[in-house]
Amino acid sequence: MNELRDVSSLSERYDIVVVGAGPAGLAAATTSSELGASTLVLDENAGPGGQIYRAVTSTPVSAREILGEDYWRGAELATAFRASSSSYARGATVWSVGPALDESGCSEALEIGVSLGGSARLIQAREVILATGALERPFPIPGWTLPGVMTAGAAQIALKSSGLVPDGRVVVAGCGPLLYLLTEQLRAAGANIVALIETTPRTNWAQALRQFPDFVRSPYLTKGLKLLWGARRHLRIVSGATGLQASGDGRMTEVTFRLRGKEERLACDLLLLHQGVAPNINLSNATGCVHDWDDGQLAWIPRVDEWFLSTVPGVSIAGDGAGIAGAESAPLRGRIAAIAAATRLGLIGADERDRRATPVRAELSRALRGRLFLDALYQPAKEFRIPTEENVTVCRCEEVTAGQIRETVALGVVGPNQMKSFLRCGMGPCQGRLCGLTVTEMIAEARGVSPQEVGYYRLRPPVKPVTLAELAALPKTEAAMRAVVR
């Protein structure tokens, strides 16, 4: 692996550019360089690992049992990547992917806009593999914008990358397979967790049990039981809570919830929220890839073929960004995407492609076992996806409330893009990452139509902020100059 520290050291053109250095990106890059493709990995973080294996090569948490054996498995992916001939830029932000147009308006390659070390650059690639992973699903409850409330994943990141442990009384609330893992890691690190408030609706079990035979054969069963057993032995677990709220003056000091119709209040210093993860689709959406609403995962999932190729030629999507499938599946998806990309580049033939992909596919189908059970069991409760109280903030950036969104739908607004012109909803710095799913589902419910019909924000590059100075310093073509100079 060859580390590049500034934009000027990037090549003009690569065979394959991989966006993201989580498990999918690392495996994709390792495979594609093995197959002879000149490969560049661009990643926003300080080191390889993505979020699930965050800081796996640099974490100051030396006691291995705190983060657990599954975490340390990420080191193998990082080691294989390090041994590869891939180029790697950390702290690099990709803000656009699109066709590289020549003077005649034709496109033979893809163009990637990237910022690194305070400067921007446009480079080209024949293939792009987006491995941008997942983000934690929005959790719009009263008070979720208060200081003292963060995602459970955020606390996990502080632990993994800095060895920071929450101080004071911690309440963890929500649902999802990761919730117990995150809680157990924090507890092992010494956090004082006064309660774990479970919001999984009891009615989910009926749906989930249909997938039970598949789940029993999966590694998730023993892992899950171990985590549940640990949590039940050490923690106060409140199951089936509704009406979750955070409150406080200037900062969160109290969590309120209802249990069997009775209200309970808990004084605490930190509330950690988590109700599963959803694909991070900002870059794939802005690239023009088609996305479909998935009723099981309650999220937008980019449309990909069996080789993880999206609807945009040359752009593949691997890992959880192509639909949530977990950390074990991510590197396998990355490998398959890279094998197919190398085939399109002419580096290997179709026979070689199939020979290499077959065992990976077999492993992938084993890794996917049990996912449908987890998706069904931990489908977040409707009340925590579609807020019922009018004053709950939905768009945190522009401070738009659930009430405003419903009023606007009553005026006849049909979708999130029209909603923008009324409320600026989704137009703040996060570009809908923290409100998009909520807004789609709210409009769908209010109109009585499917989320697929309502659609999502039409995102445009840059998907991350770029300074004017960076843009102005980019080289410009003659045609571009002529278009604006008078």
Binding site: Q51, L135, M150, A158, G163, E399
Partner: protein, 106 residues
């Protein structure tokens, strides 16, 4: 709000937050450094002036925005803390001063 695990070692970095001197561990992000120093509120919003703190720590929520070495609206959770860095919390919308230079806060 956060404390360091007792056995965490590493090089110390000195920086300032709103003019006060503070220390962090080399390898911390700016947001982690602020949390470790008990800075709970990193900004107030441009819309209503409500206090906000880092929410996702992974670069997607943009709640951790701070001014770093005079440049506003930087994502604290993605930028590594460095020796001598000047970190300022942000107050509401940015004011534009009469001499044409943008001010750091209202």
């Amino acid at each position: 709000m956060f404390r360091r695990l007792h056995d965490v070692e590493g090089k110390r970095v000195t920086f300032t937050v709103d003019g006060r001197s503070a220390t962090a561990r080399a390898g911390d992000t700016v947001s982690a450094a602020l949390l470790a120093n008990g800075v709970e509120v990193c900004r107030t919003t441009p819309v209503s002036g409500a206090p906000r703190a880092p929410y996702c720590m992974m670069g997607v929520c943009f709640e951790c925005l701070v001014t770093i070495d005079g440049n506003g609206n930087r994502q604290g959770c993605l930028i590594a803390i460095e020796e001598g860095m000047l970190v300022e919390t942000q107050k509401g919308a940015r004011a534009v001063a009469v001499d044409g230079r943008a001010g750091a806060g209202a």
